[in-house]
Amino acid sequence: MNILFPTSVEAALDALQVNPTARVMAGGTDLLVKRRAGSETPEIVVCMEKVADISCIEVQEDRIRIGAATTMSGLLDNTDIRERLPLLHRAAEVFASPLVRNMATIGGNICTASPAADTLPPLHVLGAEVEIYSSSGKRCIPISDFVVAPGRTSLASGELLGAVIVPVPQGRTIGYFEKVGKRKALAIAVVSLAALLRVESNVITEARLAWGSVGPTVVRCSDVESQLIGSAPTLDTFRSVGESVRRAIHPISDVRASAEYRMEVAVNLLLRLAEQAADPTGIKVGF
């Protein structure tokens, strides 16, 4: 196996151009597990750990630009992320274990494109965009267009995920993220729900909800969101959208949980969101 260590984005792009079969490795916590299982047999690996300019976090007015090679620990330790993007911070907190968080990157989590990826539901409700580099320049697309299927992104050959750009919610919002796994640390999400609500004068004026692990990619449900808008944030309101959630999600059964369980819990989590919305003293980060 040949391992390349580019030290700049340009060098990394060149390496990908020269070696079209090369696999990009950020933290290695996914790629090397797959190599062990034999499902990935890369001959050439482009290791991103020495590319300094894609591992920084920059605050740009009303948004935060997170370099793709930022580790989960890097996210956790960053004050701006903690204070201004608590939803994403929470996702980093429940991501795998401290040891894995020191290695795994946000870019890797996004590119792995797992239906259970912890950062994706928060990034969806926050309206994040991804910045993609190629030798011909850079393009920006919404996260929802980036992840297209389990394990598949819209990244073309020779392209590199450079950064995630996350708008900081303005004004007073209620954030909620809950990951349901079989256990606490190191769990793979069986169901997760990220939500961002705006409540003014006891009426929901904005609602964004994204479920993980209940479909091939993150599920946003415009039907549910539009039903919530204009209602009071009561238990009954959230209960009433349960049926729409059931229609929107398509969970599968696997060794971790059955489709029925995922369905039930995806709906039940709305009740915790309701509890949170009724008492919006801060971000509710359940588990």
Partner: protein
């Protein structure tokens, strides 16, 4: 490829396949067996080592990634003799079969650098990637708590 790194204070220069796992290179080529393999998939933490002062899972790291780094295992953790966390693990019963212990020692030592006065909950969170099948963790948490006190005392003396 030729890789050079500092392992537990000693310079190492090896000519190996850079695609080998770091854990195998440390154990087989360097003879340092403190990092253990328990799962090979990053779930158990027995292979944890410090790379430039940060914990890394050496089973999910390539030999090539060690090039130019300072790698520290449980065998080289203390400065003069055992690290306080190693002493505390032994004294307070945090060691049973001992197979997970080197990974736990390394993880806890790094954690105490960042959080010198942790709560039990914080210790449990910090060790949540290190599986132990013998102790039930209670005494490991006791030991890390105690190590924090030992380190505070040491630092207090130094000031």
């Amino acid at each position: 490829m030729i890789i050079s790194f500092v392992l537990d204070g000693e310079e190492q220069t090896l000519d190996v396949d850079g695609g080998l796992r770091a854990v195998d290179v440390l154990r087989e080529y360097c003879g340092v067996t403190a990092p253990k393999e328990g799962c090979g998939t990053g779930e158990c933490g027995a292979c944890a080592v410090l790379v430039d002062g940060e914990t890394r899972l050496s089973c999910l790291m390539l030999a090539a990634q060690m090039n130019g780094c300072i790698v520290t295992t449980a065998q080289g953790l203390g400065t003069d003799g055992p690290h306080p966390v190693q002493e505390a693990l032994a004294d307070l019963g945090g060691v049973q079969c001992g197979y997970c212990t080197p990974g736990i020692a390394v993880t806890a030592a790094e954690f105490l650098e960042r959080n010198p006065d942790p709560t039990r909950k914080e210790i449990r969170d910090a060790l949540s990637g290190n599986l132990c099948r013998c102790t039930g963790y209670h005494k490991i948490v006791d030991a890390v708590e105690d190590a924090a006190k030992r380190l505070q005392k040491e630092h207090g003396r130094g000031e």
